[in-house]
């Protein structure tokens, strides 16, 4: 049988770590976007 990825604790742990990393990177991208917008805002 093909192994169920969710039943493989090592793979599952890696996927969880990957998801956490993805959230952090998404927040960084949003922060860069907001930062550039806000930095241009004063006086406009």
């Amino acid at each position: 049988m093909r192994p169920d990825p969710a039943a493989d604790p090592t793979l599952d742990a890696r996927r969880k770590r990957a998801r956490r990393m993805a959230w952090v990177l998404a927040v960084v991208a949003l922060a860069v976007y907001a930062g550039f917008l806000l930095s241009g805002m004063p006086g406009r």
Binding site: R15, A18, R19, A29, Y33, F36
Partner: protein, 540 residues
Amino acid sequence: MSATHPDAVAHHDAHGHHKQGFVERWFFSTNHKDIGTLYLVFSFIMVIIGAALSVGIRAELAEPGLQFVRPEVFNQLTTMHALVMIFGAIMPAFVGLANWMIPLQIGAPDMALPRMNNWSFWIMPFAFTLLLLTFFLPGGALAGGWTLYPPLSLQGGANLAFGIFAIHMMGISSIMGAINIIATILNMRAPGIDLLKMPIFCWTWLITAFLLIAVMPVLAGAVTMLLTDRFFSTSFFNAAGGGDPVMFQHIFWFFGHPEVYIMILPAFGIVSEIIPTFSRKPLFGYQAMVYATAAIAFLSFIVWAHHMFVVGMPLGGELYFMFATMLISIPTGVKVFNWVTTMWRGSLTFEPPMLWAIAFVVLFTIGGFSGLMLAIVPADFQYHDTYFVVAHFHYVLVTGALFAIIAAIYYWWPKWSGRMYNETWAKFHFWWSIVFVNVLFFPQHFLGLAGMPRRIPDYSVVFADWNLVSSIGAFGMFLTPFMMAFILWHSLKHGAKAEARAWEGARGLEWTVPSPAPHHTFERPPVIKDGDLAHGDVTH
């Protein structure tokens, strides 16, 4: 080939997944190979559209005077050609290659975030439908150049709103793709594949993905400000309201220069895979190549204003950006010398992927040299906005990025399809392309040095001869994607079966799985043996 990796194929056919229908497989797929294929097919369609636009441009420029299109339509052709080729053809092609190859090269069962992977892809067709529909709006498509400089771009109407929305969608897609690649490479590598044993293609993509996350939001910020200037009465870039149009150029090129490297670093990775295979030698200076890639990525953030020397910067600024730009030639030179040194005294053979890779090294270097010329401030004052710049970036992006993509497709095609292709035809495709790409772009150096401006539909008769030559080159090049499509279609139908290690000198984990690569690979982490890895051994 007996080298097939047991962990790659074990239990592949034993599991009980049902047969997927067309819609389920291609619209709802979370499989990295299928999504890679989708990206590559999408990119091919965009190449055809972008190339058709460029044929329109070159047909108009084949002789002086206005022949086929009105000036405002000409501006739409140049703007849309650039946007389609950059965001629709080159970038998605590299993402497609990353999707196909990174999990195979690091021994991962799939990308780390497979459902987001599906989403990343399926944003793209909608973004480009939106962008291309602007041709049918009153006033036509975006026409202010792909750089969208205000105040010119602010004269747009609905096409600007459509275009900016499309750019936001492409940006979201790229950022999600980049996040997925970073999360995959840093978390999903099989045991034994240390970072400094990873194939160089993975390394170049890892660094590129960080560049994408850093600069795509900057582009999004810039075009959001453009949008509010045009439709919500802000004055970020509107001088009449206290804004600064030059600020847009700074923000745009803070994105735009790293973007150039986003389109070339994965190409470096591809060439660094192919040259060792057909030289039958390990890559010379593997670690130097990794560090050179990182150095180029870093330098790409601190050179942006060399695109805008003529806006009137202080002398100190011009000197700084000139010397910082020239610094890039050092890590780039490391790469070129390492490719040449890899070939030196190698047991060379010249199969189609190797031909494209060698052409990349020679012709990309020509593009690099003309880039160095443009970095010299007083020279740039002369060359700025001339056809010399057009020649420069087409050598980098066509004979650089696009040639590397073609090389990659010819290199990994047997792994994807399980079929070899007709090498004689593929070599004909290569030599045809080499002749016509140089007929197309080399004369543009002469035109630029003679003073012909870019982005014009008509020109002085003194430029007529080289323009005709360049247009003949464009018509010849337009045939090449169709040649390639035919060669690959013929391979699928009639090609000889490919072995697991399709190329004798190929090393790396992807060549340990059967050809074609099974739908699911490495569902259990493979046990890596010495000799499996492209760089280094498990035990050292």
